[in-house]
């Protein structure tokens, strides 16, 4: 216990006995192991491919100057985006969950929405708005400002990725805050702590696993995202992998992908080490969710902060899309005539819901095992699922084409295989939030239920599951939103004739018909936003 003293003892009272020494139910271990193995299977294909490459050639590729500079670029990007996302996401979570921020319900939903903006649209909108000759430059030119700082390169990439990925940190942190006992910081304050002191010494340790889970998602998303670095002209792993696959350089692409997975492994190990000290995370989640902190004089600055984030993340892309839409009267910016159909939206929602439900369901065993029965094995199962998350969509797609055509022709180019791909890619989002909420549930509660005669599975269903529901729900929401906008695996694995919003956007935007891309992009944002609203309001009534 880091905090020590009576506050620590107070938090410790709720910790109960850790079950580290207990043996987990064998069925749970087998289930979690099977899920992890299924999720890892696409990587086997990658390893097989790389094994076929001549060693000296492989080494020369890996140690080339370009490869090492790309490695440095990727790592710098991951570090900067993760730090910046925490700096934005955590304050927003606290403001919307624990303070008397005006229009709180609105902001609760709105600040999560940037996650629904696909990076290839967000980044492009930023270039249109803030690039040379962009909208901003056009507005500033008449008043004598001739040049603005460049949006391209490292700075711009960090900015755009942060603005569209911080909601990971926001949502996981928020889920932790909702699950945590809000009366503890109050107790701390009655014991003489200042409100910042109470936050630092009581709340922060409570929500640390949530922040860590979100930060890990941001870090790995940054590593696997292709669209933003490509548009912002910054070289990363994924950009080179993508270029190689398009050039039929499948060996090098496979090799780089494996190297990317190795980097992911290092990040995971690092995170495990940093996040290992989870003491203070356990806390009972009473029904006492009150504890609103009055913002006082900070009300206006807090409001301004929320509005500024929203303006950048939502107004800029939506405004630029609207601009394209208005321009679309002219043929070059309008569609080639392949008309938008509403079935694209239903298709998107359908597969995304399926992926979200399946991910949430299979996340529970893994997350529960990892949180309750900490052992080398449970940690391996948990962390292994993150490898699929860092696998670029194109690599995953090709891998599943191989598996589908070779071993499961009946499933090839069907929805089940597509949904499986989504689960492989996005399962860690559900696991992260679920695990942090399991960590916050006092294990003695389930123990108490059992002493009252409940079976372990009934105790889990009746006591633990309702308590972790906000985390599971937040995880499902994350999977839903990212599936809605997933492009590369969708393009490779969708059933023939099954078009979604993103495949349509890809089609028209790739040919420069930005006006035609505006409608489906707006639909994507609105539909995802509505789903987000439903999910988050559900969560509020629960707590």
């Amino acid at each position: 216990m880091r905090s020590g003293g009576h506050l620590g003892a107070l938090a410790g009272r709720f910790r109960g006995d850790e079950e580290d020494g207990d043996r987990p139910p064998i069925a749970l271990v087998l289930l979690a192991g099977a899920i992890a193995a299924a999720v890892l299977s696409p990587i086997a294909w990658l390893v097989l491919r790389v094994a076929g490459i001549e060693t000296s050639y492989a080494l020369s590729l890996l140690t080339g100057a370009a490869t090492t500079s790309v490695l440095a670029n990727s790592l710098a990007l991951v570090g900067a985006v993760t730090a910046a996302s925490i700096a934005i996401g955590v304050p927003l979570a606290v403001l919307t969950a624990r303070t008397d921020l005006p229009f709180r319900r609105f902001f609760t939903v709105a600040v999560a929405l940037p996650l629904v903006v696909p990076s290839y649209i967000g980044a492009f909108a930023f270039v249109s708005a803030f690039g040379p000759r962009g909208v901003l430059a056009g507005l500033l030119a008449p008043i004598g400002v001739e040049s603005i700082p460049t949006i391209y390169g490292f700075g711009g990439t960090v900015l755009v990725l942060t603005l569209f990925t911080y909601p990971y940190v926001y949502l996981t942190t928020r889920a932790s805050l909702l699950a945590a006992d809000a009366s503890l910081p109050e107790a701390a304050r009655t014991l003489g702590e200042s409100s910042t002191g109470a936050f630092r010494r009581v709340t922060l340790p409570q929500i640390a696993p949530g922040i860590a889970a979100g930060a890990l998602l941001v870090a790995l998303y940054t590593l696997s995202d292709f669209g933003t670095p490509a548009i912002m002209q910054f070289d990363t792993f994924t950009r080179i992998i993508f270029v190689e696959y398009n050039a039929f350089g499948r060996d090098f692409a496979a090799l780089l992908s494996l190297q990317l997975l190795a980097v992911t492994g290092v990040i995971l190990a690092l995170e495990s080490r940093l996040g290992a000290d989870r003491s203070g995370a356990y806390a009972s989640r009473g029904a006492r969710s009150g504890g609103e902190t009055a913002l006082g004089v900070w009300k206006l600055p807090a409001l301004a902060f929320c509005l500024a984030v929203l303006a950048l993340c939502l107004l800029v892309p939506v405004g630029i899309l609207a601009m394209w839409l208005l321009r679309s009267g002219s043929p070059g910016y309008a569609g080639g005539g392949f008309a938008f159909q509403w079935t694209f939206a239903w298709n998107s929602v359908g597969v995304s819901v399926a992926a979200a439900l399946l991910s949430a369901a299979v996340a529970i065993p893994i997350a529960y095992l990892a949180a309750r029965y900490r052992s080398a094995l449970s940690t391996v199962f948990d962390r292994a699922t993150y490898l699929g998350y860092a696998m670029p969509g194109i690599v995953l797609g090709l891998s599943l084409i191989y598996f589908g055509t070779t071993y499961a022709p009946a499933l090839y180019q069907t929805l089940p295989l597509l949904v499986f791909a989504y689960v492989v890619r996005f399962l860690p989002q559900a696991i992260g939030t679920t695990r942090s909420s399991v960590l916050q549930v006092d294990p003695t509660l389930a123990g108490a239920a059992r002493t009252l005669g409940e079976s372990p599975s009934r105790a889990f269903r009746r006591v633990t599951l309702p308590l972790i529901a906000p985390g599971v729900l937040a995880g499902a929401a994350l999977v839903f939103l990212t599936t809605m906008k997933e492009l590369p695996a969708t393009l490779l694995l969708h059933p023939t004739g099954f078009d979604t919003l993103v495949t349509y956007i890809w089609l028209v935007q790739g040919a420069g018909y930005y006006g035609a891309a505006a409608v489906p992009a707006l639909v994507l944002i609105v539909v995802s936003g509505l789903s987000m609203f439903v999910i988050l309001s559900q969560e509020n009534t629960d707590s």
Binding site: P132, F248, S330, G332, G336, G337, G397, G497, V508, A511
Partner: protein, 422 residues
């Protein structure tokens, strides 16, 4: 096609290729030679007139009458043939279409049954539109189109055929390199001579695939900032053009550009190409994600000139008629490369005859007019000219290069990485 000619086709001869002349019109715009331009106004007097001058009416009107006349004679069992206007685009670039000649859809047996088409690229749904027109013509035709980036579909087909068989019957790709890669893996079957005979040998160098529309390398430039005479005629000379210092743009991660660098490598040498890439970098050339954005940046004045496929500038111009953008073409060598969108039949298909007939349809007057006037591509059959102002393929003098060799991208990428372009 005169009405009398059209009436002869009422029985829709099958398998027999007939030469038909659709419409009678005047070529209003002279084709412009050499370093030609879109606007056409100042192209000089060396224009060549194509087509037959048999009337003074606009091509569109006359064509409409002729084709409608034909359609009325169509075989009811296979649906009505659509008038050529359905295939033709509109706008300032498409006015004054000349007479067209070649095989008409009327001359081919009807398409019927299910056909799985892997459509690589697809030009923003334009190609899907053409497929829809064929669907409207033939109620029994059930195309199943699978759209994805072209190289990804090539990778997919290779993976599928090596594991057993591919669901694809036809691979229609916007890049000859992708067609070549699939053909190299023996994943295709040969196309019959009668289908490809109207296409110049350059665009069907092997039996495996045939080009259906061409895309030329070009230099879009901003007419407010640059006079065309200052653009070098040889693409290799761009590294020494002081006027372009710090003002140019390219899209090195874009497939069409990589094909161009591959052509340079194959036509000159690795060393010469490396010098060129280095030279352009020393010129301070700016990087864009794709060539539409290069062309758009030219129109915006963000850059003065760029390297891009020709049709992107035409699309910008069609959308923004007042934008100060025009096209220059370099002469001969890799700068005059014409890559193609083309099609091939995938090994293992159960519908070879239908697949062959479908590809034949892509080479009809109607489909070629579609590519010319809607996608602003280069038609592949001599009887259909490109849209107004574009130089003809002969005038461009494209290099003699087997386009399938453009799939030899690996050394290109290594070179581009070595000089830090990628």
């Amino acid at each position: 096609m005169t009405r009398d000619d059209a009436s002869e086709h009422s029985d829709r001869p099958t398998g027999r290729t007939r030469r038909a002349v659709l419409a009678a019109g005047t070529v209003g715009l002279a084709g412009l030679a050499g370093c030609s331009a879109l606007s056409g106004g100042d192209g000089g007097g060396n224009g060549t007139t194509t087509g037959t001058e048999t009337g003074t009416m606009t091509g569109t009107e006359t064509t409409g009458n002729a084709t409608n006349g034909t359609a009325q004679q169509g075989n009811a069992a296979t649906g009505e043939a659509l008038p050529i206007e359905e295939y033709r685009g509109s706008g300032p670039l498409v006015q004054q279409r000349p007479s067209l000649s070649g095989t008409s859809i009327q001359d081919l047996p009807p398409l019927s049954g299910e056909l799985t088409i892997y459509l690589g690229g697809g030009e923003g749904g334009l190609y899907t539109n053409l497929i829809s027109l064929l669907e409207r013509t033939y109620p029994d035709f059930e195309p199943r189109t699978r759209l994805a980036p072209t190289s990804q579909l090539a990778n997919t087909i290779i993976q599928e055929t090596s594991a057993g068989s591919s669901p694809a019957d036809v691979f229609w790709s916007v890049d000859a390199g992708s067609l070549g890669v699939v053909a190299e893996r023996n994943a295709t079957v040969a196309l019959p001579q009668r289908v490809v005979e109207s296409v110049p040998q350059q665009f069907h160098p092997r039996e495996d695939w045939v080009g259906v529309a061409g895309r030329a390398r070009s230099v879009p430039y901003n007419t407010d900032q640059l006079d065309r005479s200052r653009i070098p005629e040889d693409v290799l000379a761009f590294t020494n053009a002081n006027v372009l210092q710090g003002n140019m743009g390219w899209a090195p991660s874009y497939g069409a550009f990589q094909a161009f660098v591959t052509a340079m490598r194959l036509l000159t040498s690795r060393g010469r190409t490396k010098r060129w890439l280095n030279g352009m970098q020393e010129q301070g050339i700016r990087t864009f994600p794709d060539e539409f954005l290069v062309s758009n940046a030219v129109a915006d004045g963000e850059i003065t000139a760029g390297f891009a496929n020709h049709y992107y500038a035409l699309r910008v111009q069609a959308a923004r008629p007042n934008a100060p953008i025009d096209l220059a073409f370099t002469e001969g060598g890799p700068g005059a490369l014409i890559n193609v969108s083309g099609a091939e039949i995938i090994e293992g298909t159960q519908r070879r005859q239908l697949a062959t007939n479908f590809i034949h349809h892509l080479l009809t007057i109607e489909a070629q007019e579609f590519f010319a006037t809607r996608a602003f591509g280069y038609p592949m059959i001599p009887g259909v000219p490109p849209v107004g102002g574009l130089p003809t393929i002969d005038e461009l003098q494209p290099p003699q290069l087997d386009l399938a060799r453009l799939s030899n991208l690996q050394p290109t990428l290594r070179l581009m990485r070595e000089v830090g372009v990628l």
